[in-house]
């Protein structure tokens, strides 16, 4: 749809002068927002700006402290806990929202099971699930328990769940943060198709290129305040970033500095195999940033987990500065200076009901204890340091991790791993859900670490990140390292050719 057509379209859902406070801490300040029929409306802002809070209010999961919500121009009090679905408003939450014990089909139909004479019509529901998953090009088995899926697969299930509901308004809070480009592409095709049929979308994302590509209008929030709403076409990435951050951004990526060729080898991985990963070998030098690229499910995470000892290795060796690291012993790996940051911050990264300090120091408590006695002062100092260093923004210093905004959780996780002061850091999806401004900070931070002589492995599905940051890139495919790119070879095109299996290097 072109902007003019949208311009004339009626407003479906809107927020008028909406404010929101959590136990006295205000996070939204009199925000106005309008969603028209058949438009894709981007909602942007820094981490903690209040995007998720606003969309939760627009879908009834939170009630505004003041202000009102209008549906088709009529003020309405949205029913809580997903009841707004009956009004045609569906949301995909930023945090995954599936029960681990249920199967894909069961999750998709949870709360609106189809029955015949009171008996579940399982055949119908399975078929319907399959149909929607196929529409999204997902190969997830409709009978698989949610617990057996990867995060990306879970996200696809969430998306399938939302778009299968024939909604008038679909709200997507960072749906693509864990998706590959390919999957994102399929998702966008479906979104456009539905938009053309008149469905309206709110699209929350930190990926500027996606916003530019997909959306009709953009609304920017900063610190809980409405800043601007305007057609996407008249803005460019720079401009949006500037609106969000409130200042001009310098270049996103720092200048690459290649390590000396004769720099010592910090990490050597020899022929590591696990159930899925076969014969992976590579080296990282001191001061090097090595990227790992590949399609979703190509085995990058499994390889990294095997290296640091989170998974047993079936064979192969890992050497840190020449010394072997035992298999399946994370603590030993940590002690030898090797650290790993998980991509699954909610299930594996943070204790959601603990505060920031407890999370921050969990992995490095020995640094904060004297004769086995924990020193709260030292922990508080570490927290103050980390908040400064990673710009962790919370309005309430005693908030539990689960209540922090997604991006700030990610920063806290990174800070937690860095607390162990590792020499070699493996970062799985470093900037998942992080706003541009902070992204830039994190990239510079990584680069500074490398210049300091540390070695960094960046596992990422975001191609620009890999290209902009790494001096060498390994590409994985179906459990094997199929290519190792250096210098000018590092380009989106080359990486894709390896990842898709069109090209293969004899030796990695």
């Amino acid at each position: 749809m072109n902007p003019e057509a949208v311009d004339g379209a009626p407003v479906v859902l809107s927020a008028r002068r909406v404010s929101k406070s959590f136990s006295g801490v205000q996070v939204l300040f009199s925000v106005d927002f309008e969603l028209r029929q058949g438009e894709i409306h981007a909602l942007m802002g820094e981490n903690g700006a209040g995007k998720s809070t606003l969309v939760k209010i627009l879908s009834g999961f939170e009630q505004p402290t003041s202000g009102e919500i209008l549906l088709d121009g009529q003020p309405i009090k949205l029913p809580p806990n997903g009841g707004a679905e009956a009004l045609g408003i569906v949301i995909i939450h930023q945090e995954l929202n599936l029960a681990e014990h249920l199967t894909v089909t069961e999750s998709l139909f949870l709360g609106r099971e189809v029955t015949r004479f009171g008996v579940l019509d399982r055949k119908f529901m399975r078929a319907e699930t399959r149909r929607v998953l196929d529409l999204l090009g997902s190969h997830v088995d409709e009978n698989a328990p949610i617990a057996s899926l990867s995060i990306a697969e879970k996200q696809m299930v969430e998306i399938a769940k939302a778009i299968s509901r024939d909604a008038r308004v679909v709200i997507m809070d960072e749906p693509t943060a864990v998706l590959s480009r390919e999957e994102t592409g399929i998702l966008f095709r479906q979104v456009r198709k539905l938009r053309d049929k008149g469905t309206s979308f709110i699209f929350v994302s930190h990926k500027l290129d996606e916003v530019m590509e997909l959306t009709d209008r953009v609304t920017v929030l900063r610190d809980g305040q409405w800043i601007k709403t305007s057609p996407t076409a008249i803005l460019d990435g720079e401009a949006i970033a500037q609106l969000m951050v409130g200042r001009e951004l310098s270049s996103l990526y720092p200048a690459k500095t290649e390590p000396d060729v004769d720099e010592a080898i910090a990490l050597r991985v020899e022929a590591v195999s696990t159930g899925y990963v076969r014969d992976a070998s590579f080296e990282v030098r001191k001061g090097e940033i090595l990227g790992f690229s590949g399609l979703i499910g190509s085995g990058r995470t499994e390889l990294m987990e095997a290296i640091v000892g989170l998974r047993p290795r079936l064979s192969g060796d890992v050497f840190v500065e020449g010394k072997a690291v035992p298999s399946g012993d994370l603590h030993a790996a940590n002690r030898s200076g090797l650290a790993y940051m998980t991509k699954d911050r909610k299930a594996k990264g943070l204790l959601l009901n603990a505060g920031m300090a407890a999370n921050l120091t969990l992995q490095s408590l020995e640094r904060h204890s004297r004769l086995g006695y924990l020193d709260p002062g030292s922990e508080a100092a570490a927290l103050a340091r980390a908040r400064r260093r990673f710009d962790i923004r919370v309005r309430d210093a005693n908030i539990v991790a689960g209540r922090m905004s997604g991006g700030n959780q990610q920063k806290l996780l990174l800070a937690k791993v860095m607390e162990t002061e590792p020499q070699i850091i493996i970062i799985d999806e470093p900037t998942r859900g992080i706003d541009v401004g902070t992204k830039q900070q994190i990239y510079h931070f990584i680069s500074a670490l490398a210049r300091d002589g540390r070695s960094i492995i960046v596992v990422s599905s975001e191609m620009p990140e890999i290209i902009g940051l790494c001096t060498r890139v390994a590409v994985m495919r179906e459990g094997q390292i199929v290519g190792m790119l250096e210098g000018d070879e590092i380009s989106e095109h080359e990486i894709m050719r390896y990842a898709a299996g069109l090209k293969k290097k004899a030796a990695a």
Binding site: F61, H101, L102, D141, A500
Partner: protein, 336 residues
């Protein structure tokens, strides 16, 4: 990203979650193992008579445990069931002794309805205290356990409450001692209750919701499920199962006392867990539960029939066997 590589992934990934199925089979493997051991211990063991005895007497725990499967799947726990058996049995016998209805058949029917209603009411009380009162189910049902048992002691003045009408007793006896098509009534009842429960848990919307609530109550709430109602109904189902167990219990001895059903709650929970349902909630295996109840009864039966265990050590060996049975299960699941 090119799409032509799709072919390599051809179709849908069906994989590691297969071993979930194996976990459902594991209790039956443990049961088979016990049967073999039993046959070796005593030739009488494998006789139809003995096995029917064991199955029949497992009825109380089995039926109660079926109810417990719902409560546990929904992420709760009910410690009051043993006391509830004593309480409902007392009420039922007192009702029959009251002679309110002259015709014995009518009286019996009324007493059955009364017991079922009492069971549902007790379950409802547990459910409401837990959900509306927002008290940990462990504590809430420990409290009602004290209440139900205390009331029973009070009703019976510490002694036994015995069914007085010989005519009623005669009429009611077959409900435990009779058989249908050659199968003892209690076994028929177990199978019927389990079949209904399996249907409800696996084939109805409510069953789905139970599992969802037990697996992640926030997700369930966000999906528009009335979490508290689902949990409360699970407690009511537990109460109904207890009532059914009472319906079989009363005709057996025709009497009840304040000691009736002591520690049955632990046995029921054990049956559920041995049957493969996790205490953390989110998955229920009704047939496994029945299998667990048989296993528990069988272990005791084998001990008694064997001649080489001192009566002092029976408890110890029973404990060891339960642990070993669970280890067998685990190793089965792991190997797959």
């Amino acid at each position: 990203m090119s799409v032509n590589e799709e072919s390599s992934q051809n179709g849908i990934r069906r994989r590691s979650w297969r071993d979930v199925d194996l976990r459902a089979v594991a209790p039956f493997a443990a049961l088979a193992l016990l049967l073999i051991i039993g046959a070796m211990v005593n030739p009488n063991f494998i006789g139809v008579n003995n096995l029917a005895n064991v199955a029949t007497r497992s009825a109380f725990i089995a039926i109660i445990a079926v109810g417990a499967t719902f409560v546990i799947s929904a992420g709760d726990l009910d410690l009051s069931v043993g006391a509830m058996v004593a309480f409902i049995a007392s009420l039922m016998i007192l009702f029959m002794n009251s002679g309110a209805i002259a015709d014995p058949a009518l009286m019996l029917a009324a007493a059955v309805a009364f017991a079922v209603a009492a069971g549902a009411a007790c379950g409802l009380a547990n459910g409401l205290i837990t959900t509306v009162g927002r008290i940990e189910p462990f504590i809430a049902t420990l409290g009602t356990m004290g209440i139900y048992r205390g009331l029973t002691t009070w009703l019976s003045q510490g002694g036994a409450i015995t069914l007085r009408e010989p005519q009623l007793q005669e009429m009611y006896r077959p409900a435990y001692f009779g058989s249908i098509l050659g199968m003892p009534v209690p076994i028929v009842v177990i199978l019927a209750v389990t079949a209904v429960a399996a249907f409800v848990l696996y084939r109805t919307r409510y069953g789905r919701h139970v599992v969802a609530v037990g697996s992640n109550s926030d997700v369930a709430r966000y999906s528009g499920i009335a979490v508290n109602r689902v949990r409360t109904i699970a407690f009511v189902i537990q109460g109904l199962c207890v009532a059914v167990a009472v319906l079989l219990y009363v005709p057996r001895l025709g009497s009840t006392s304040a000691t009736t059903g002591i520690l049955w709650e632990l046995q029921a929970i054990t049956a559920v867990v041995v049957g493969g349902t996790a205490l953390k909630g989110g998955a229920g295996r009704v047939w496994g539960t029945i299998c667990g109840a048989f296993i528990l009864e069988l272990v005791g039966n084998i001990m008694l029939l064997s001649n080489f265990v001192s009566e002092y050590l029976i408890g110890a060996i029973q404990g060891a066997i339960i642990i070993i049975a669970m280890l067998v299960q685990r190793s089965l699941v792991r190997k797959s």
